[in-house]
């Protein structure tokens, strides 16, 4: 079992997201520790990209804040290496294909393995294009996380069969961001996934309240929350860590 999958060993997983370097890496470090202390099972670390096409306005703005602050992929690698001395829960990077490809896929993925990042999520790399990344990820033991969307339908089996670590189920159409209601028939998507694999499933996109997290986690193995956390980061800036810690606590307790 990969370290990523370990996040699902002890019941439902709560997976928070944060954009590295928003507004600076020192703050991100405090936020990640606050998340870990308050029961996060796995943390998604966003490497900012100039043009994040799968993100709604909240995470787009976080990307801009981070990049204007001058953060780079190399700085994030050094930061995670440092973080790994005391934070032991699994980490996955969430970024875009070009950030990895342009850096050099092998150089990037081997660095992940070296600094202790367990997986990677690339929202602009669907099943058909994973050949650019999957063999390198396999070589270095880094999970390439697969995504399944409400529109996946007959594609679910193909994706689920080759999934590693965990499966990221996209709760609804559209980009990341808080939604008042999630209408997708998630239960049937999870059922279709379960037919083909034991790989755990976590649901993301649009989750912000403890009630939503509870509902989504009850339908699957965990809940992923990004925009709601990034909103707190935007509101409190360098002082955001305790507020995010408190939020993560309320969410993990609700699961």
């Amino acid at each position: 079992m990969s370290n990523t999958a370990n996040a699902f060993k002890n019941g439902k997983a709560f997976i928070p997201f944060i954009t590295c370097g928003d507004p600076d890496l020192e703050t991100t470090g405090k936020i990640v520790r606050a998340m870990a202390e308050n029961g996060a099972s796995l943390i998604e670390l966003g490497i900012p990209f100039s043009d994040p096409t799968a993100e709604g306005p909240v995470i787009q703005e976080a990307n801009i804040r981070a990049l204007s602050g001058g953060v780079t992929t190399d700085m994030i690698f050094d930061f995670v290496r440092e973080l790994r001395r005391d934070v032991k829960i699994p980490f996955v990077f969430m970024t875009y294909a070009n950030v990895v490809y342009s850096y050099g896929t092998e150089k990037f993925i081997s660095a992940c393995a070296d600094i202790g990042v367990d997986g990677i999520i690339l929202p602009d790399v669907p099943f058909e294009e994973k050949g650019d990344f999957a063999p390198v990820c396999k070589k270095y033991g880094v999970d390439l996380i697969s995504m399944i969307a409400p529109t996946s339908e007959q594609r679910i089996e193909m994706i689920a069969k080759e999934a590693e670590g965990f499966i990221y189920i996209v709760s609804s159409l559209g980009v990341t961001g808080v939604r008042s209601e999630i209408k997708t028939d998630i239960a049937s998507i999870v059922a279709a996934v379960r037919k083909c694999t034991d790989t755990p499933c976590a649901i993301g996109f649009g989750i912000s309240t403890p009630e939503q997290a509870h509902r989504m986690a009850s339908l699957s193995d965990g809940a992923i929350v990004g925009s709601a956390i990034v909103k707190i980061a935007a509101k409190y800036g360098k002082d955001a860590a305790p507020y995010i810690g408190e939020y993560v606590k309320s969410m993990t307790e609700a699961l």
């Binding site: 043009d51 490809y101 342009s102 050949g131 969307a149 559209g174």
Partner: protein, 394 residues
Amino acid sequence: MSNGRFGQHGGQYIPETLMNAVIELEEAYNRYKDDPQFNSELTALFNDYAGRPSRLYYAEKLTKTLGGAKIYLKREDLNHTGAHKINNVLGQALLAKKMGKTRLIAETGAGQHGVATATAAALMGMECVVFMGEEDTKRQALNVYRMKLLGSEVVPVTTGTATLKDAVSEAMREWTSRIADTHYCLGSVMGPHPFPTIVRDFQAVISKEIKQQILEKEGRLPDAVMACVGGGSNAIGTFYHFIGDKDVRLIGCEAAGRGIDTFETAATINTGRLGIFHGMKSYFCQDKYGQIAPVYSISAGLDYPGIGPEHAYLHDIGRAEYVAVTDDEAVNAFEFLAKTEGIIPAIESAHAVAHAMKIAPEMDKDRIIVITISGRGDKDCAAIARYRGENIYE
């Protein structure tokens, strides 16, 4: 390797949410592209509505003034809506209609593709939303008004550099959130497969006509065909039927902005490197960490950090040449063509004219060049006046 590759370029680098939508589009396109009924409907739209075939005009005064190769202009500026964009849009709108879609969304830079999409939507009774960088809505205010007049909604995009690339990103985001009734009418030979192929096929009518027309007029093929390149749709349309004719030089003219040795440039082949963005693997202007560069050109239509995957491939194999043309050179050509031929080209097309002004005088008089005038320049007059220090507004 996945579908839709041109050498190493192309592919489908998009969110899983959109995968079935592009697969559905590919299946529909494969079903209709050789369908006689579809093609007769499209030909009727091309001829009776858009005014095809567009003229191939011998620019005698331009030729004599430059004193070298014989220059022909392929007059895509004479099409309905004033640019080559209508060729692709009529094809895609007809296809979308056959697929049962009732709503078109599109990105636009200069506004020509937005206007063409709004036009087709009006004609076919479809809803239409156009995404346009806020910066471009200012540069091309008249086109914003035209789209609204045609019944479309125009959404100003404020993210990033508020130009064409951000309009593409926003249109992709919109498509992710509403797929069932919506077709994304992409305006260039870029984005995920099957768009680069579909758009090329609809624009290939340009080179198909050039070939027939030049054979009628000259009894031989041209020595070079030239076009401006942003994403590259009028260029691939101009090149396509000549790719197999090895003696015909294919020349794409990129926007160098203030120069390829500055950061204020949009010349992708000349300054970019291999990357993955907006659904495709191709060349992109980017920094060492893969962050997409905030490109610049006076031309809103060429102000894009990438290039279509088929162009990237034609560059790799050395079949096509891609040269860089600065703002200054393009503005000079804009004015020069107006004065010598009485034709005001789009500032985009003026990039191709500018390069012809460099190479034509060096060529023998029995040589033949065809320049595609992809659009007309009415939309640019106010901006060029301002560039020359005359403070006029539309």
